[in-house]
């Protein structure tokens, strides 16, 4: 596949495109700000939850799509954020804001640990390891009912206190978190850090040969994305005010992954959008009961097979005529063994 840029860098054209793009962005943001005025409380709740999933799916896409780490522990980090603040509130009476900060820190710390542990793992091992970690954590949270209230559910204080019964402020906070994290991650991928992450993902050996500190960037990816997940989880906890270990079952992880994939795992915005559209879609299709998940599963498989860059990335390209494609493309400079079944002699300990 060639990587020739499709867009010829014609300065005047570029300039007007940029104006167009930023203009459109601004209009949309304004519309988003006015959403609560024409959407009633139930649908507003759906959108808030959709934003929550968007935060998760976009941050996961950063970890998986950009940094190449297909981790199954993402919702576990989200749960760490939620349960940290929940337990601090329950056992020590700490206020929600403090709890959230600690939730983020805790999720980040564990993220760093996991990131460090899985440094040398090939994708299948990374997946299995993070699944195991996530499951153990879930079983622990569920089992140690003295600490976490297990399946009873852990109650958290609403972030804005018991007097604020309207959803609207929560909507804005979730929107702010979503936009904030997207902007942050957007900045990150366009920075040197993002460049190095992609280099590491494309060809770890080559990147290392060129002096990129592979270890540092892989762990950094975990740290950042786990903190974002933790933030989402902690705020979510103080919004819905009750959490249970079910928030981190593997099916939830599958859902987040599916959202990112269907949206487009190599594009933050597409992944976020995937999250929003799918969550809203699933909610609207509730009447179909169990079959809606069947359709969803089939859709996921088909998209993986036939539209592996997601549904939205091609759309973006179509609408805005993009430059060099950075999606899931064949490794150009990799050792051939990458795509062949692994001979038994070469096992988990490295490329």
């Amino acid at each position: 596949m060639s990587t020739k840029p499709r867009l010829q860098l014609n300065l005047p054209a570029l300039f007007s495109k940029r104006i167009l793009q930023w203009g459109a962005a601004l209009i949309l943001l304004v519309v988003a700000l006015f959403v609560p005025t024409f959407v009633e409380t139930y649908r507003l709740h759906v959108i808030i939850i959709a934003y929550f999933y968007a935060i998760l799916s976009s941050s996961w896409s950063l970890l998986a799509g950009y940094a190449g780490q297909f981790s199954f522990a993402h919702v576990a980090f989200m749960a760490i954020g939620a349960y940290t603040t929940g337990m601090l509130g329950k056992h020590f009476g700490w206020p929600p804001l403090v709890g959230i900060v600690f939730g983020v820190v805790m999720a980040g710390a564990v993220g760093i640990a996991i990131g460090a542990l899985v440094l040398r793992f090939k994708p299948a091992y990374l997946a299995l390891f993070t699944i195991a970690f996530s499951e153990i954590l879930r079983l622990l949270i569920r089992g140690e009912t003295q600490l976490t209230r297990g399946d009873h559910g852990l109650h958290l204080e609403p972030l804005l206190g018991a007097d604020v019964i309207s959803r609207v402020p929560y909507y804005y906070i979730m929107l702010a978190i979503l936009v904030g994290t997207l902007l942050f991650m957007h900045w990150l991928v366009r920075s040197r850090i993002g460049l190095f992450l992609r280099a590491v993902r494309e060809d770890e050996q080559a990147a290392a040969a060129r002096g990129v500190d592979v270890v540092r960037y892989k762990v950094l990816a975990f740290a950042i994305t786990s903190m974002i997940a933790g933030l989402a989880g902690a705020f979510y906890g103080h919004y819905v005010t009750i959490i249970s270990p079910n928030m981190m079952v593997l099916t939830q992880m599958g859902l987040v992954m599916a959202m990112a994939i269907i949206g487009g795992v190599e594009n933050l915005i597409a992944a976020a959008l995937g999250g929003i559209l799918i969550q809203v879609g699933l909610e609207e299709l509730r009447e179909f009961g169990a079959w809606r998940l069947v359709i969803f599963g089939a859709l996921l498989m088909l998209i993986l097979r036939f539209a592996r860059n997601g549904l939205l990335t091609p759309l973006f390209r179509l609408m805005f005529g993009l430059g060099p494609r950075a999606e899931l493309r064949k490794d150009t400079a990799t050792v051939p063994e990458e795509s062949a079944p692994v001979a038994e002699g070469v096992t988990a300990d490295g490329a």
Partner: protein
């Protein structure tokens, strides 16, 4: 001492059955190079297949249904492999490792919900192979479980024989070692892939059919066996047949001993799976190639 023996015997019997299912996963990994994240769902389908076939053809002896269930699993596996996995080996997929993980995960999601929507949530149970229990002195074991264990043992033995002594076995081994070299000798790796995946799925289905009379089936009954299988193949060494067998038996024993001896019986029982997972994580960190990580077969 009696107690130890009874716990151990339980663990051994279950271990052999676990090994059978793990063998399927290993076969798939060894030939196709991917971890099948829908393995537990083939197990589940095997159980449902035996239940549904017996409901429709009640005259059939339950034992006869086991191979039928296995065939059903294999058929489904074959179709899936050809449609969704073959492109990997035709170099039509970018980032094949991740794709394989995600698409088999998607299959798992799809199958669980399909079963839930189509058959319903209630637990079901096909008829016993041999009703009643057998007194082994140290403990009693149900006829069903004994049958399942015995058949698993036989199947594992048969599998070893096939892998080592038959042409097909040799062809499979060749492909797992070096695809190109195998092609030179005229072995079509794509066909071998399909055979391996179908066989792996079939083995999981057989395990499911063997255990269905003992444990009953629900749409999500495959979740724990799935995770357990991953633990076993990593412990035994991915792609190692011998490893899967040993790994299966070890895990069977660990689970039994944990539940039987852990000081706090609640935690022992609650965290039965977690112990296995812990071992799993430790193996991945300390000795990733597991017990028998270098394939010998």
């Amino acid at each position: 001492m009696d107690f130890f023996l009874s716990i151990t015997s339980t663990g051994l019997v279950m271990g052999v059955i676990y090994a059978l299912m793990a063998l399927g996963l290993t076969l798939i990994y060894s030939i196709l190079g991917i971890v099948n994240f829908a393995h537990g769902e083939f197990y589940m389908l095997g159980g449902y297949a035996s239940y549904l076939i017996l409901s429709a053809l009640s005259g059939l002896h339950p034992l006869l249904v086991v191979p039928l269930a296995g065939l059903a699993g294999a058929a489904l596996g074959l179709i899936f492999e050809i449609l969704f996995l073959r492109p990997i080996h035709q170099d039509r997929i970018d980032r094949p490792d991740e794709y394989a993980i995600l698409v088999t995960f998607g299959l798992s999601f799809f199958l669980i919900n399909l079963t839930l929507a189509a058959v319903g949530p209630y637990p079901h149970r096909p008829d016993s192979f041999f009703p009643g229990t057998v007194n082994l002195g140290i403990t009693r074991i149900s006829g069903d479980r004994l049958t399942a264990g015995a058949l698993s043992l036989i199947l594992v033995g048969a599998l070893l024989l096939i892998i080592n002594k038959t042409w097909i076995g040799k062809a499979l081994r060749a492909v797992s070692q070096d695809k190109q070299a195998a092609a030179v000798v005229g072995i079509d790796s794509l066909s071998m892939n399909s055979i391996a995946f179908a066989a792996g799925a079939g083995l999981a289905a057989v395990a499911g059919a063997l255990l269905a009379p003992s444990f009953s089936v629900t749409p999500d009954v495959g979740a724990q066996p799935s995770i357990r299988s991953y633990v076993i193949i990593v412990l035994g060494g991915m792609g190692s047949i011998k490893g899967s067998i040993f790994g299966g038996v070890i895990i069977g024993l660990v689970e039994s001993l944990a539940a039987g001896y852990f000081p706090d019986p609640s935690r022992g029982l609650k965290y039965k799976t977690a112990f296995g997972l812990l071992i799993f994580m430790l193996v991945l960190l300390v000795r990733p190639r597991g017990l028998f990580g270098r394939k010998e077969e």
